[in-house]
């Protein structure tokens, strides 16, 4: 009886406090708002170009108003020539979008600068570095993206996993070096993806958070994977008294790398959509080295066991297949905010994986950073850096 009364009282006071807060805010909005001076200066106009689709003879541009005031696109010029356009006849409200169709005979492979002239004379520019016909999302396109994803995601990872028999012969010190190498590789990838995520997010206009989206994605992914790990861990203690920390670690690494590859696939798809498609085959050597080491990282914890082939294949898919999904999303959505968020998820996943691996770096003397692991980490960082140089060569 007493307990219920106390609870009721607590509820009532909570409701009362909420009402009071609401009333205060309302009063502030009605009265306090009027005491503020009118906002001076011209309207703040911001438009983010979320997607450009190049159709022969036309350029379709999807813009989003990321500023506080409505924006009216009055005219558009492309490479300093006014163009006829349809769409966007009405002012675009905050966070609203409009699709503009520009009547312009663009040429394959040429750069274009779109200039949106607003009703107040402001010019909002968007650059198309290389024009190429935007792929249409048909069956052929999806199968192409799946093929690219398989090619850049699954195959190198599985190739790397084939080194498992070799790993079994190199002893615990060798494994620690290898795990250190993995940590180094992953750390470099995390830094690289963070920088790219921030760059991508800044092209989105910032209304949805800009670089904060990368951080949000990273933290959420980290928390989700930690929760998954705790869940798997608690189940293990009940179901598998022998302990299968090796396979658990491999799964976590595969998931982390998989989320990273999602970000990679996204970059591929987005670049494909805007037509950045010209490079020599020499670069692929470096690429294979990079993603092959991801396969090594997955199997590194499995040297003590003999997992069935299907399990290994599953790990390979877990790590590599998200590249396919990423490529599909990247090519068909091509949205800066989403890309930044997904890149952030990759970063968070990598951070989680590094923490997963860390205990295995311990040597006999319980040291995290033995000379062997330090060498491994440094080698991993340098490998990524050097293969990165191969890319620009």
């Amino acid at each position: 009886m007493d307990g219920r009364t106390t609870r009721n009282r607590a509820w009532m006071s909570a409701v009362g406090a909420t009402l009071l807060l609401g009333a205060a805010l309302l009063l502030l909005a009605l009265v306090g708002g009027k005491t503020l001076p009118e906002r001076a200066g011209p309207p703040i106009e911001q438009l983010a170009v979320e997607r450009t689709e190049l159709v022969p003879g036309y350029i379709d541009v999807t813009v989003r108003n990321t500023g506080p005031d409505p924006v009216q696109v009055a005219q558009v010029f492309v490479n300093d020539a006014y163009v006829d356009l349809t769409g966007g006849e009405q002012p675009i409200p905050r966070l609203g979008t409009a699709m503009l169709r520009l009547d312009y005979p663009w040429q394959e492979g040429q750069p274009y600068l779109l200039s949106l002239l607003t009703s107040t004379g402001l010019v909002i520019e968007h650059e198309i570095p290389v024009a190429a016909t935007t792929p249409q999302a048909d069956a052929g396109f999806f199968s192409l993206m799946a093929l690219i994803g398989t090619y850049v995601g699954i195959i190198p990872v599985v190739l790397g996993m084939m080194f498992l028999p070799v790993l079994r012969r190199i002893g615990s010190r060798g494994i620690r070096v290898l795990l250190g190498l993995t940590v180094g590789l992953l750390a470099f990838l995390a830094i690289d993806a963070s920088i790219e995520g921030v760059e991508v997010s800044e092209s989105g206009g910032g209304a949805f958070g800009g670089p904060a989206l990368v951080v949000l994605g990273a933290v959420l992914a980290f928390l989700a994977l930690t929760a998954l790990d705790r869940y798997l861990g608690s189940r293990r203690t009940v179901n598998d008294a022998q302990g299968s920390s090796g396979i658990r670690l491999a799964v976590m690494i595969a998931i982390g790398i998989g989320l990273h590859n999602l970000g990679e696939g996204l970059a591929i798809g987005a670049a494909y959509a805007v037509g950045e498609l010209a490079l020599g085959t020499a670069l692929v050597v470096g690429f294979t080295i990079q993603n092959t080491t991801e396969g090594l990282a997955v199997v590194a914890p499995l040297t003590e066991r003999r997992p069935p082939l299907l399990q290994l294949l599953g790990l390979g898919l877990l790590a590599g297949a998200p590249a396919i999904l990423g490529a599909l999303i990247g090519a068909s959505v091509n949205n800066a905010e989403l890309s930044a968020f997904l890149l952030g998820i990759g970063v968070g996943a990598i951070a989680q994986v590094i923490i997963q691996i860390a205990p295995s770096l311990r040597d006999g003397a319980e040291r995290f950073l033995s000379p062997a692991t330090i060498g491994g980490i440094a080698a991993g960082l340098l490998t990524m850096y050097v293969t990165g140089l191969l890319v620009t060569a």
Binding site: V55, A74, Y82, V83, F287, G388
Partner: protein, 348 residues
């Protein structure tokens, strides 16, 4: 690093079968979507120019509200203001004008507003016309919120030059002054505000044409004035977003300048462009006599393209032997495609 990595990934995407598939998919996807939708060309000005390969244009069907602006470039073309004429005791002609500066929000392209500074509510300002030897009195009234002057090209005393710290100096908001000087030399000149920052005061719209006719009039002709200018709508002083003759970009594409076949056409051409050093005038299907500054009665060249730096001007005289539409535009094609182009419509 990020960029290189992305390209790196793509390089692999083009390998072998993936590359072949990519090319195949792109070729296939390009075909069905190629057909453009029918674009409506309605609206008041159904001149039908522009769009896609037919050249630059504003949104089709969209027009500037000339009535709201208070001036129409077609009317400006042949609008010569001879002032209020009277005789002085010694027999000389006295011409008097009232020119008021005002701040106006003008629609300079369909849907684009521009906070303009104007002479007599229009861009360009009124074409003041007189004869050599007249005594001119221009009463300048500054109703703008900003200080301005009227600075005339020509020959006059220093105190009538319309610049700061000389004669009346800057005419403040609400102030007025009568500029008085003799009309000389004959030719086509310009006037503009001369208050700092100078580029902005001119670019906002404070310029106009000042024509001094020679003592013996030029041969009769269909006369018109064309002031080449631009709008820097972002006010960054870096080039212009819009280029025009007589106020509104592309206007004479929609409403061609109508002239008669075989008749002498005389164009008083003035370059009042800011932020770009040089402007040009090119006429299609014809050649014209060009009189630089109009201070000599003999043409200096027979051409279809001339160039004028900022503040330069001249007279173009032309006859059209054939009927039809003849384009004229800046041969700096960037300016043309950003609005500085139009048509002559030649009829019998």
């Amino acid at each position: 690093m990020a960029e290189s990595r992305r390209q790196f990934l793509l390089g692999s995407a083009l390998l072998g079968t993936a590359g072949a598939a990519a090319l195949g998919a792109r070729a296939a996807s390009a075909a069905p979507s190629a057909a453009p939708p029918a674009t409506e060309t309605g609206g008041v000005h159904s001149g039908g120019h522009g769009g896609g390969v037919a050249g630059p244009t504003f949104r089709k069907g969209a027009v500037v509200d000339h009535a709201a602006n208070g001036f129409d470039p077609t009317a400006l073309l042949r609008d010569f203001d001879y002032g209020r004429v009277s005789r002085l005791p010694d027999g000389r002609v006295l011409r008097e004008w009232v020119v008021a500066a005002a701040d106006l929000d003008l629609e300079i392209a369909p849907g684009v507003r521009y906070p303009a500074w104007t002479f007599n509510g229009r861009i360009p300002g009124p074409t003041l016309r007189c004869q050599e030897g007249d005594l001119l009195r221009v009463q300048f009234v500054n109703t703008s919120a900003h200080p301005h002057t009227m600075h005339f090209h020509g020959i006059h005393p220093a105190e009538m030059d319309g610049i700061p710290d000389t004669g009346p100096g800057v005419i403040p908001s609400g102030g007025s002054f009568v500029y008085e000087f003799d009309a000389q030399p004959f030719g086509v000149h310009l006037y503009h505000c001369h208050v700092g920052p100078l580029a902005e005061h001119i670019a906002r719209g404070l310029y106009g044409t000042f024509i001094v006719d020679p003592p013996a009039p030029r041969p009769p002709a269909d006369e018109m004035v064309m002031v080449m200018h631009g709008y820097n709508t972002t006010f960054d002083g870096e080039g212009n977003q819009l280029y025009a003759v007589n106020g509104i970009p592309f206007h004479y594409m929609h409403e061609p300048v109508r002239v008669k076949r075989g008749e002498l056409v005389r164009i008083y051409l003035v370059n009042a462009l800011e932020y770009d050093p040089i402007n040009t005038f090119h006429l299609h299907g014809n050649f014209f006599d060009y009189y630089p500054t109009g201070t000599r009665l003999e043409p200096s060249e027979y051409t279809d393209t001339i160039m004028q730096a900022q503040g330069q001007r001249g007279i173009c005289e032309v006859r059209f032997p054939y009927p039809g539409r003849y384009m004229f535009h800046a041969h700096k094609t960037e300016f043309a495609e950003l609005g500085w182009m139009g048509f002559f419509e030649v009829t019998d």
